[in-house]
Symmetry: C2
Subunit: 413 residues, 2 copies
């Protein structure tokens, strides 16, 4: 089942199903223990029985890991048919040796599946700066290729986890005018959960037929509206990758209105996964949706949203259950230019309750103060910042800053 | 005494002295309990017996507090003669009432000292969004003006503290070719220590005679090289203010070489205070000096330095005593543009020990690993990041991220 959030909702004609990435017809997957982690499964394979159109989005971090460099630069990202993923080691900052290891991981997978290497994507997630145990991985590839089946989509998802507290996956059957199509999803990670250097990976499958260029446009748009709108600690990883495979095994080709319905369902499912990453952000106890309205232009809206969402002061206040709007106004004030001789005229509301109007605190009644206390105890909080400076708006989702974040990120040795 | 750090050193001809801001001749100061805080002193006055030249630097936050707006827009910042400061309340986000309260605080102080109001600066630090208890402050002004003396410089410093764990102050006597001059310093705060919204305030005095424009240039340059180079949590406050008063009471006028010697001593003292703010950052246990070399240009050097210094992952690793260079490379990779098909070619060294060369981990010997462990246990750590992309360099100082930071910023209710 997909995660649940009040900030996203599936279309009525979408029905949830099991087996995540292998719910769509013609996909097989599995996970094995190759020996990177001490005891958990650490090598996962997803492949389609028939050719696919595909799309991929990668991290823009200049310190991108070897598997990202290899796949981005040398794979046929519009017709990928398989993905080999290891957890426990990011193969990042590993130089030429890392690139060679990623290429070997790809070639043995291609051999096992009898595919050209350029149709196989390679992903890694885990500790940075340590060479891959490539011989163990090569041995694992044969086993995982033999094991892969239509029943093991959920195993694929749990195999790619690192410090995740729960699996992020789901599957949908979508009734479209042209017929039924199926979608499957597996994601992992959240922020940078180093030293595991755990990272955001997301794999989506469908048995709809969608031409490569349309699929790439769809994936880029949806990632932009979902995964690119969440932040745990503002730290972009070296390994982030989202890959979508469409194998057409349903016999249903999508275009026009059907493609738009498909994109809607896909977007809501991806938003649920992205919100689950935030909820599973290191030590997170709350998810905040921040909407910024009335910014001067889009870059200002984006900068204001990021400044508030990534402020450790704002995040810690949400952990403490304190509606500390002063920290929000202060973060906004770092971004927008000062008005001559006057303070910042921002409005702030929590779940529709106005706390600040034109930069000044609203006097709350006793009942409103009680209501605000209840809002602060909920797991998902909606914050609206209005600037009255122009037409630009944006939305971002972030988590709170907790003791657990410091534990996860300082006591791992 | 000024704080101590291996990252700054006073000139040989500078001798430390007591009484901080009242060490220079002709200054008086004191603190009283006006009733903003429950029991500690909360209203401080500093004034010169004779006219001064002066200089001031203010926060650039658009949500600047009322005392900042009032002083910046309506005071004679080149001939200030007195400063009235309250702690416990920032008078920020308080609208027109806040501006009226700041103006009243200034006028009663000017009356008590028989000065024109425009020669009095007003500063506030503390909780945001709550109106000042202005009647209590007005009563306190009379008492603090009566109490002010040459012996109470240290009391001024402790009165402006909020969540500071120790007072940041000091005084110097400087033997210059033209004769002896004295300097005094009082600072408070660090990051945004809200809900106290504690902020960076710094007051410096001297009995040297320095013309207003030269003094403003000097203060701006020195603040740029000291207070503007530190970060605790990347959160710029609504109340930051630095004010310098030069009353010429020593009879020594500074220009040319003497003024440069004076600026050197002033800069080192201000750097020691700025480093003390970092060391007293909420819950901080370590101070890191980060030098960035070989950036493409100055904005890139600055962005790289801020990305590393404000990364909660990097900060938490230093708290945990882990030389996690992967998080540093990852933060750098967020800023610099990707190189075609290749990883990031950065070098990283801790206290001169190379850990990464051209983006790849250096294999450390047993002795080097032991040495690195020792480096990580010290209170002040030096980190060098070299990018080989161009000629630009910069330096920034930051603190680690600890449990105490989360406590201070979430459990204050």
């Amino acid at each position: 089942m997909l995660p649940v959030s009040r900030f996203a909702g599936l279309p009525k004609d979408a029905e949830q199903a099991d087996h995540s990435v292998t719910h769509p017809r013609g996909f097989r997957a599995a996970g094995v223990h190759a020996g990177i982690k001490k005891k958990y499964r650490d090598l996962a394979l997803l492949s389609s029985e028939v050719p696919c159109s595909s799309a991929a989005v990668f991290t823009t971090n200049a310190a991108a890991a070897a598997p990202v460099l290899l796949t981005r630069e040398t794979a046929a990202c519009d017709r990928l048919r398989a993905v080999i993923v290891n957890s426990g080691n990011a193969n990042a900052c590993t130089g030429k040796r890392g690139l060679g290891d990623a290429a070997r991981m790809r070639s043995v997978t291609a051999n096992a599946l009898r595919l050209p290497p350029e149709e196989v994507a390679v992903c890694s997630t885990g500790v940075i700066g340590v060479p891959l145990p490539i011989d163990a991985i090569v041995g694992g590839v044969t086993r995982v290729a033999r094991k892969a089946s239509r029943a093991l989509g959920a195993e694929f998802t749990t195999t790619i986890m690192t410090t995740d507290r729960f699996a992020k996956q789901g599957a949908l059957t979508l009734a479209l005018p042209e017929g039924e199509v199926r979608l499957g999803f597996a994601a992992k990670g959240g922020g940078m959960i180093s030293p595991k250097m755990a990272t955001m990976l997301c794999f989506a499958t469908t048995d709809a037929a969608v031409p490569g260029p349309a699929l790439q446009g769809l994936l880029t748009r949806v990632v932009d509206r979902t995964f690119n709108r969440v932040t745990v600690d503002g730290q972009q990883s070296t390994n982030d990758t989202a890959i979508m495979l469409a194998n057409g095994a349903s016999g249903v080709s999508l275009s026009g209105k059907s493609l738009r319905l498909f994109e809607d369902a896909f977007e809501q499912a991806m938003l649920l996964l992205a919100l689950a990453l935030v909820a599973d952000g290191e030590g997170a106890t709350k998810v905040v949706r921040l909407r910024v309205e009335g910014a001067f232009d889009q870059p200002e809206a984006e900068a204001v949203a990021r400044a508030v969402a990534n402020s450790p002061l704002v995040q810690a206040a949400f952990f403490g259950g304190d509606p500390n709007w002063g920290r929000i106004v202060q973060a906004v004030g770092q971004i927008v230019p000062p008005a001559d001789g006057a303070g910042l005229k921002a409005d702030v509301a929590f779940d529709g309750l106005p706390l600040v109007q034109r930069g000044v605190a609203v006097a709350l009644s006793y009942d409103e103060r009680r209501h605000l206390q209840k809002i602060m105890q909920t797991r998902e909080i909606d914050v609206l910042v209005s600037l009255s400076r122009g037409p630009a708006t944006t939305t971002i989702y972030f988590s709170d800053l907790t003791y657990e974040y410091v534990t996860v990120n300082s006591e791992y040795n």
